[in-house]
Structures are given as C-alpha cells and as structure tokens.
Symmetry: C2
Subunit: 282 residues, 2 copies
C-alpha cells in the first residue's frame, strides 16, 4: 500500500473502516481520507462511492455519524470520504473563518493568491484521489458514484456535471446549488476565483446543468426546517434550472429535518439504494 | 414539560432526538440526558429502553454514533441516554483522571468522601431519571429495558440484577463484568465505596448473578480484538458464574471488533431486536 500511512482501522459491519494519510502532490500537503471496505471487498473488486463533506468537516464527521457502513456492507460498495480542504499550509488567514480556508475548500481549483498553491480540491477529488484509491484498493474500474452534504453536495453535483461519463450516480443532501447568488458561495468564489464573476460559472450548478452533456439523474434530499435553506441553499432555483432543460432531478423536501447529520443518517439508506441501483446492476 | 430545559432537538428517522437538561436532586447538579421519541410516540405510549454509556462519554456519544434511532423508529421504542456522571461539582480530583470522577460515575452510590454527596448514579438511573421520563413523556408504565457499553454495560447488568422485575430485557456491549478483579473496577470501588471489599459485592455482577431472583436473559456482544478484553472486561469469568447457577446468558465473541462505537453500531440492530422481542410483544 505505497505511500499511504494507516491512521486508524475499525471493524464495522463485517468490513473495515480505515483512515489513511498521504502526501497530496496536488494540494502540496498531507491529507487524511476515510475508506470503508465492505465484506465483499475481501473476495472481489467493488464499485466505489465518493462522499464529499460540508463546511468545517474533516473525514471524521461522515464516518462517525452518517451510518453509511451498514448500507455499504449491504450493497458491497467501497466508500471514500476525503477531508474538506488542505490543512496546516500556513496560508495567511486560512484559519480566520469557518467558511473560508481550512475546512472550506469548496471542491474547486483556486486561481487567486494566497490560495492557489494549495486549494485545488477539484483536481484532488477528480484526479489524484481516484488514482490513489485505484492503486491501493480493489475497485471495479470506472464504476463509481458521488454524493455529499451542503458544500459537499454542491461539490458532488458540480463535479458530476463537469465530468460526463465519470460517474454512474450522483446525489446530495442539502446542497449549495446556487453558489453564485448566496453568501457562502460568493465569499468562496470571490476569494478563490477572483472578482470576475464569469470565472465563477465554471463551478456553478445552475450554469452547468444548462449545458449538461449527459442526463445523470440527481437525487436531492432537503430538510424543510434547515436553517440555511433560504439564504444559502436554494434548491428550488436549481430545480427550476433543471426543469428548463429537462434535466432529471428528484428534489425531496423532508418535513421537519434540519441541516445536521441526524438528517443525513435518516435518509442514508435511500441514497445508497439510489447509488447501488446504478453501481451494482448486472 | 416541567423542570426540563430543551438543549437541542433534531428530526431523526421520522421521530425526534432531544437533549434535555434538568436539576437532579439525587446528584445535586444539573444533568443532560438524550431522549429519542419514535414516530409512534405521537399517537400512543411507547416502551422505554435505557442506554448507559462508558467511561469518558457524555449523552452525545451514543446519540451521535450508535445508529440507534433507525431501530428505535422501526420498533417504536423511546430511548433514554443519560450522562455518565455528575459534572462540575467542584470535588477535589474530579477531573484528574478519565477513569474516576467526571465521566466515570460507575452507576453506583458512593459512600466515601469527597464523592458521596454527588456520585449517586445508581439512584439517578434506577429512581430519579425514570420518574422524570414518565412524568414528561408518554411511556408504557413498567415496560422498559436497559443496555449499555463497557462501564455502562456493567451498569446495565448490575442494575437489572439488583432490581428483579424492573426491566423486561437487558443487554451489553463489552461490559466490565468482573469489576472487583480488574483495575477500572477496583479503582472506582475503592474510591467510591472504600477499602472494605465486602461492600463492593453489592455492585458485583459475579456476586449478584449467583443470588439472582429472576432469570432475565442477558445478551452480551464482545469484540475479540477489544484492547481491554483481558485486563478490564473478562466476560468469560462472568459467563462461567452464570453457567454455575444456570443463569441464561448469550455471550457472542465478534471476530475482529474493537471497543469503539464502530463495534457498537455494527450490532445495534441485534440488540434492538433482543429488546423489542421483550418490550413490544402482544
């Protein structure tokens, strides 16, 4: 297992929940990621499902709180959960706020200083991490899905739309699907990409879905008691953009649910069923 | 909802995960507890299942990591998870070590100073907390089970054995079932109960099972890769004591599992099935 350092391993639902650490050449720093190997992985290659976490998270939140291992074991999926940003890069201001810098990589490639040398989470998730996974674990080549929460739900949708054919399934919990028009997205895009708002469109799901080259159905769950729903998330705006171009989306409003991992865990089984239907058929 | 302060509430699996704070007259301090109300609780009284956590835990560990809400919703059980000790009582030494004082109440009534005025977790769990629950939530009177992990698995078994008829089901994950002979138990008993080891027997599962007045079957799951298995837990000694008096116990050794919540979550469904069979029948 070249270049990976084992941080922890725990037996879980008949498989293993690992955390590994490695040096990322893309991000120019050490990075942790979680990877769950289901029981099926002992005997055969398995499809891979990538999870992208939200603001402030490390790889730990998802692997501790989402209840994913039960379903990964049921369907025989390898689940990879990276960290949400570079860490400890000594960039001025990287730890000044929880929605920029550390814990807030926004799954894009920063072009602006002081971020551009490290904050390249888009390339990390799209290129480097899949290479690390396929080099070290027995995956079914080319059979992978992606999902995430909040900033990570945005990341999953944007990355799937920008890379037609790369993923066979995509879904999100409470994603930031209108980033160009909401405070979290505007702060990130302005700092990482600069003041020219036309440069933001390359990462805007609203823009991307209008020129989508494939029709990969998107499942979105959104709690209607989510405190960030109106100001930061705005899934109805994205659903409207999808409707305008006949892009298939299932946006489910879940009554009484908030933005927490209690919400995520409650519908984790549904999302695994959605991904498994695409990843394990035949 | 008299005398309870809401700390948090999150929609979860169609029900609600609450955390409440209240003043405990038994412990002479403010205490938090978690209580999950399943969807069924909106329409009818539900049975109650008490969870006792292990060393260092608060009420948060279980409600975040155990994956209990899925099964509580499936079976229609109210699940109550108290904290593991009094906190902030300004007792000399209460925060000096992780296995005594704060986070380490050991579910007993301390008789020794400086602990005796606050450290009465036995009375809290057996008397005060059930009164608080039945006064504030719609429970089925007298239909309750108890389970826990490590120190809390010990607590669940000791409390069930000491109170025949009070619980209809009991189970434990990696319980400290030979406390008089292991370092964790000896340290706690010596400090809380004093040097006279005959006083320890009132809380010793090995002693209690030999004079048990009922035959409530005990389910125990124990990981065989648990780092505390030989030195602190010793379930085989307890199983032997049960065998000597024909007390019904199912001790399952789980290959590769450790002492963590990954282990607990992996078998949470089995434990809920065990409790639901006793709590929800006809």
């Amino acid at each position: 297992m070249t270049n990976l350092t084992l941080v922890s391993r725990n037996r879980s639902f008949g498989g293993w929940q690992f955390v590994y650490r490695h040096y990322s050449a893309v991000l120019n720093c050490e990075m942790n990621f979680g990877v769950y190997l289901p029981p099926q992985a002992e005997k055969q290659p398995c499809p891979t499902l990538y999870w992208l976490s939200g603001l402030t998270c490390t790889e730990q939140n998802f692997i501790n709180k989402a209840g994913s291992q039960q379903f990964a074991a049921e369907y025989g999926l390898i689940v990879v959960a990276p960290d949400t940003s570079p860490r400890g890069c000594n960039i001025p201001g990287e730890d000044d706020s929880w929605d920029l810098g550390t814990g807030a990589g926004f799954y894009l490639n920063a072009t602006q200083m002081p971020w551009a040398k490290h904050y390249r989470m888009y390339d990390y998730v799209v290129s480097e991490l899949p290479e690390v996974i396929s080099a070290n674990f027995s995956v079914v080549p080319g059979v992978q899905g992606i999902f995430g929460h909040s900033m990570g739900g945005y990341g999953a949708i944007a990355i799937a739309l920008k890379n037609p054919g790369m993923f066979k399934s995509v879904s999100a919990f409470a994603p930031i699907v209108n980033p160009c028009q909401v405070p979290w997205g505007q702060k990130a895009f302005q700092n990482y990409l600069g003041d020219n708002q036309s440069d933001w469109l390359a990462y805007d799901p609203i823009h991307l879905v209008k020129s989508a080259q494939e029709r990969l159905p998107i499942l979105i769950d959104q709690g209607d008691a989510d405190q960030f729903l109106g100001e930061q998330l705005q899934p109805d705006v994205f659903a409207q953009a999808c409707a305008e171009v006949n892009y298939p989306i299932s946006l489910r409003k879940q009554a009484g649910y908030d933005h927490s991992y209690y919400f995520i865990a409650s519908f984790m089984g549904d999302h695994f069923a959605h991904h498994a239907a695409a990843l394990t058929k035949g």
